[in-house]
């Protein structure tokens, strides 16, 4: 009895540092932000007071906030859809046996390995309306980053380039664990490649697809550096996303209270999206069992 108590104490003692670490770097900032979001906190004016839900009430009718929600949603939807489609196609291709496959697999990963800010700078030059390579190749004179319509799509293009390799990587791993004999059996039954893809590859890949979508959606919903470098949210706020808006409020204009409410809203926006995926993911797993 005594020994087991000491043993248990020892176990918790060993867990202690890890728990303290996670609490201090993950839990505390979230709690602190939540607390800040209930306050009016503007150091310049010497204002620091509890205002309850007032920030959230203002949020409900803040047109700039809803604009940012719309831009973020559109960005996530289009970028992630394109990344999945392209990623799946490339993964299927790289799953085939062909000479130089190892090299091709390594090359595909390069964009993902480039740091976001570097990639953003690279795209800033490529998309430059004046001397950019893209206009030169297409023979167009499109104002990619400065036109209200094109700016968001240019950012999506850059994001797709940057993160499709991540999709490829996950999906390729998923493809590799599908047993080869299933395909052989299907062929004996007279299935063509489309039917094999539709009835073997897709269902068995579904959990990985959902997982990849979950990762990418969470990531895309908090897009910041790429767009910040490319357009700064412009023109006319057409590319301002939730995190850019929160950044502007928090660090450029020092509205710590209201900025935190936007950050918290972003947090819940991402949690909601993730929950939808997780439910679907759990269903898939349960069906398998």
């Amino acid at each position: 009895m005594r020994a087991s108590f000491r043993e248990r104490l020892g176990r918790f003692g060993l867990l202690g540092p890890a728990v303290a670490y996670v609490a201090s770097v993950a839990v505390m900032p979230v709690v602190f932000t939540l607390w800040l979001s209930l306050r009016k906190q503007m150091p310049i004016f010497g204002i620091s007071q509890f205002v309850g839900l007032q920030n959230y009430l203002f949020l409900m009718r803040d047109a700039r906030f809803w604009g940012a929600v719309g831009h973020t949603g559109y960005f996530v939807l289009v970028a992630v859809t394109l990344e999945l489609t392209l990623g799946l196609a490339i993964a299927l291709l790289l799953h085939q046996k062909f000479p130089g496959r190892g090299l091709a697999r390594a090359l595909v990963l390069i964009p993902w390995a480039v740091p976001s800010v570097v990639a953003a700078r690279f795209w800033e030059w490529t998309l430059n309306a004046d001397f950019g390579v893209l206009n030169f190749l297409l023979g167009t004179r499109i104002n990619w980053l400065g036109d209200p319509f094109w700016a968001m799509h240019a950012a999506i293009l850059a994001d797709v380039w940057k993160t499709t390799p991540f999709m490829v990587l996950l999906l390729l791993a998923g493809l590799q664990v599908i047993p080869e004999h299933l395909y052989r059996a299907a062929r004996i039954d007279g299935a063509n490649s489309w039917q094999a893809f539709r009835h073997i590859t897709l269902p068995l890949l579904k959990p990985i697809i959902l997982l990849a979508l979950l990762f990418r959606t969470m990531d895309a919903a908090r897009v910041f550096d790429l767009i910040y470098v490319l357009t700064g949210g412009g023109p006319g706020n057409q590319t301002e996303t939730l995190v850019i808006y929160a950044y502007n409020l928090l660090y450029r204009t020092l509205q710590f209270g209201y900025g935190s409410s936007v950050a918290v809203a972003t947090f819940f926006f991402i949690v909601l999206l993730s929950l939808a995926y997780l439910r679907e993911l759990r269903r898939t797993w349960q069906m398998r069992e």
Partner: protein, 409 residues
């Protein structure tokens, strides 16, 4: 007696170390020379330079995070002019009113110093200044028989005639900073104030929907969509992107800061020896109102070496130091008399033109809420330039947001 040497060895360690946070200004490496001079004159003080990130947004962010957290590990701050009222209002800067004397303040450009006062107290001093200027292609203007324009209608006429005569599809008329960022506010202010308008009225209420402001903004928008003198890609231009276009010979006029002059005149530049610089234009019946830029120094209110920090700030204002700031570091000194210096006039012939701009310069509204006002204005101005909203609608929206911010509604 023989037991004493130990004490003497430890003497140098008693020197006070000041930390000077500063941005990466052009040729900022030469600051080190000035700092060495300060250390030689003040044997008890050592100055350690700590360089801030390249973008002003990140510099501002660094200060905000650290000063709000009451950091005392840096003593002297290098600040963009627009942050000074904000930091002063937040109580982050030491008062300099008795420390920097009247005699030291008197020769500084009054427009620059205006941002440093809050409620009759001085919180910072300018150590270099900046003013928007109009660059023009002297060769093209001469060739087609035009003088440098003074007003916007003159500029428009000059640009359209030259564009029509040159028939060069790559040549554009007039470029300025039109990306959604602080530079757009600086550019737009020159149009607005050059028409007698402004952002804020006396007393701090917004004046954005008044006719002079709306007319000026309409003209900005028309230059892109109606007169075809400014290319649509102006909505992506910051200072460097503008300079790139002008320097490769593809624009007749450019609004930019003085830093671009030596870069465009150096050997290898396509426009070297073919450019001129003058006051930014204005509308008929008004005067040129270049936007003031530049950096100021102040002392961290939590510094533990305030006396020494003050000595360093005062050192930066001295005539001989200010002259070196111009000749070596290559930024425009805040000290007015340096511009009359015989050596300076001889080495930098363009200085008289810059002085003309600096004498008409106008700071952005010196209010603690400037950063918030700018944050509201940037997207609305950008919407005007990009043709998303007409000026009246955009400025009405900005005005409502600013009034809400200031608690005026």
């Amino acid at each position: 007696m023989s037991g004493c040497p130990r004490r003497q060895v430890s003497q140098p360690d008693q020197r006070v170390t000041l930390v000077f946070k500063h941005a990466q200004h052009p040729r900022y490496a030469f600051l080190t020379e000035l700092i060495q001079r300060f250390e030689a004159e003040n044997p008890g003080i050592r100055v350690r330079e700590e360089i801030l990130p390249a973008s002003t947004d990140e510099q501002h962010q660094f200060y905000v995070i650290n000063l709000a957290a009451r950091a005392a590990d840096f003593d002297v701050l290098d600040m963009d002019v627009i942050w000074v009222p904000e930091f002063a209002r937040a109580g982050w800067l030491m008062e300099l009113t008795p420390g920097v004397t009247e005699i030291e303040r008197a020769p500084l450009f009054p427009a620059a110093l205006r941002a440093d006062w809050l409620e009759e107290k001085l919180y910072a001093v300018p150590w270099f200044v900046d003013a928007g200027v109009l660059y023009y292609r002297k060769d093209l203007l001469d060739q087609h028989g035009f003088l440098p324009p003074q007003t916007y209608p003159e500029l428009l006429e000059t640009a359209r005639s030259i564009l029509a005569a040159e028939r060069d599809p790559k040549l554009t008329g007039f470029i300025w900073q039109g990306k959604q960022y602080e530079g757009l506010v600086c550019s737009a202010l020159e149009f607005i104030r050059g028409n007698g308008g402004d952002l804020l009225r006396e007393g701090g209420r917004p004046a954005l929907t008044e006719p002079p402001t709306l007319e000026a903004l309409q003209f900005m928008s028309d230059m892109v969509r109606r007169y075809d003198v400014t290319p649509p890609l102006v909505t992506t231009l910051n200072e460097e992107a503008s300079r790139h276009i002008f320097q490769s010979g593809r624009a007749i006029f450019m609004r930019n800061w003085p830093y671009a002059w030596p870069l465009m005149q150096q050997p290898g530049s396509r426009v070297a020896g073919r450019i001129g610089m003058t006051l930014v234009p204005h509308f008929p019946g008004h005067t040129s109102r270049p936007t003031l830029g530049g950096f100021h120094v102040g002392v961290n209110a939590r510094s533990t070496h305030k006396k020494e920090a003050l000595a360093f700030v005062r050192f930066l204002l001295r005539y001989d130091v200010q002259k070196q700031i111009l000749l070596k570091v290559g930024v425009l000194p805040a000290h007015r008399q340096v511009y009359d210096d015989a050596e300076v006039r001889q080495k930098l012939p363009q200085i008289s033109e810059l002085l003309r701009s600096l004498q008409q310069v106008e700071p952005r509204p010196a209010t603690p809420y400037y950063m918030m006002i700018s944050h509201i204005l940037q997207p609305e101005l950008s919407a005007v330039v990009a043709g998303i909203r007409p000026p009246k609608q955009a400025m009405r929206s900005a005005e409502l947001q600013i009034e809400h911010l200031l608690g005026l509604l």
